[in-house]
Subunit: 189 residues, 2 copies
DNA sequence: ACTCTCCTAGGTCATTCGTCCTAATCGTGC
DNA sequence: GCACGATTAGGACGAATGACCTAGGAGAGT
């Protein structure tokens, strides 16, 4: 097995486990078992848990950036692109109800742990924030594009949080519809 | 020292530590040290970590219920009462930016741990949800009172999440104002 | 066949975790 | 002043944690 591939498998498994169980609750042994690797071999690729976390965050940043680029490709209107963002809540409904938003929950956990990677994790939010702001700018809302982006990000975080607590699909659907309606009302100007 | 008092001190310290560091990251030793108690003595009062968690949740439920009752006392309008809720975001600004919302982050963590107390923790949300719904009913919004309550809860959760990630006081203030404005627009009907 | 580098397996380390036990101390009623 | 239950202190437990080391295998180039 190529070292690059092994490394990638580890990061993939760690990514999933950090999301499903949290960073602190996931141990070296858990990840090693998930990728069918000995702990010793594991240490060859990552010398500390923080190193894995950095790799996981880097992976998420790159995956997120790629997803946002996909949404930006194709001849869609900015409004339609933003709707793609809003609809993650429905696409990932099951996972969100079980584990919350991958970005929000990670940032929260790292904040409580007072972890150094806190800043890096919040860059995931920044990625969405800037992308959304660009869409709102394209809609002609140059003046308050960032505020609108933050507002939408805030809403999706709120929906994810309550979705985890109440596991109510109807609530999610209702709030998603409300967000889309809000988006339409922002259209003109 | 009375046993009841000691127990209460333990729960207070655990409450704070669970909030600031998270449930999993807080150990018996941390709590014992915080209340200047030996681990042995500690075990006399709480036989397991889950037992402390139950006590902490019970304490939060009772404290929250008391706070909501306070807001309901006095001759305020339902709208003014709801504004009291919205303004927790500003009152607890510093703590929220550092540790997030006590309710939301706990529910998220317990969800990831697949913890049995998950259901109990979500009752904290239910407390707010029902109280808010009652206020909206008093405003004459019987038909969609619960949906409005969930919407407001969702917003405050979203603001708390992003406040932790970005630590931006202006964002909090702006969204709080927006929520109050939204509330006013819900007034008639 | 040989070497050298990359990769892997498994064991070991001190520390901390949650849990549990026992012996000593405290306070109150008799 | 004694007895007895309530409370405390401190140590011990096995298991798990993150971190580290070393011996060896795999494979390519010579």
């Amino acid at each position: 097995m190529n070292a690059v591939n092994t490394r990638q498998h580890i990061v993939e498994a760690a990514d999933r486990l950090f999301y499903e169980q949290g960073f602190e609750a996931t141990s070296f042994a858990h990840i090693a078992e998930a990728v069918q690797l000995s702990r010793g071999n594991f240490y060859y690729h990552f010398r500390s848990k923080d190193e894995i976390l950095d790799a996981v965050i880097a992976r998420r940043l790159s995956n997120t950036a790629a997803m946002l680029e996909t949404w930006e490709a194709g001849n869609k209107t900015p409004s339609e692109r933003i709707q793609s963002f809003i609809h993650i809540l429905i696409t990932n409904q099951t996972k969100i109800m079980a584990y919350g938003c991958p970005v929000g929950t990670l940032c929260n956990e790292l904040a409580k742990l007072d972890h150094v990677a806190q800043t890096d994790a919040s860059k995931l939010f920044t990625l969405f924030r800037d992308w959304l702001a660009r869409q709102f700018e394209a809609m002609g809302r140059d003046a308050d594009a960032d505020a609108l982006a933050m507002h939408l990000l805030m809403r999706s975080q709120g929906v994810a949080a309550l979705a985890t607590a109440f596991r109510d699909e109807h609530f999610i659907r209702r709030e998603v519809d409300d967000m889309c309606q809000w988006l339409q009302s922002q259209q003109p100007l």
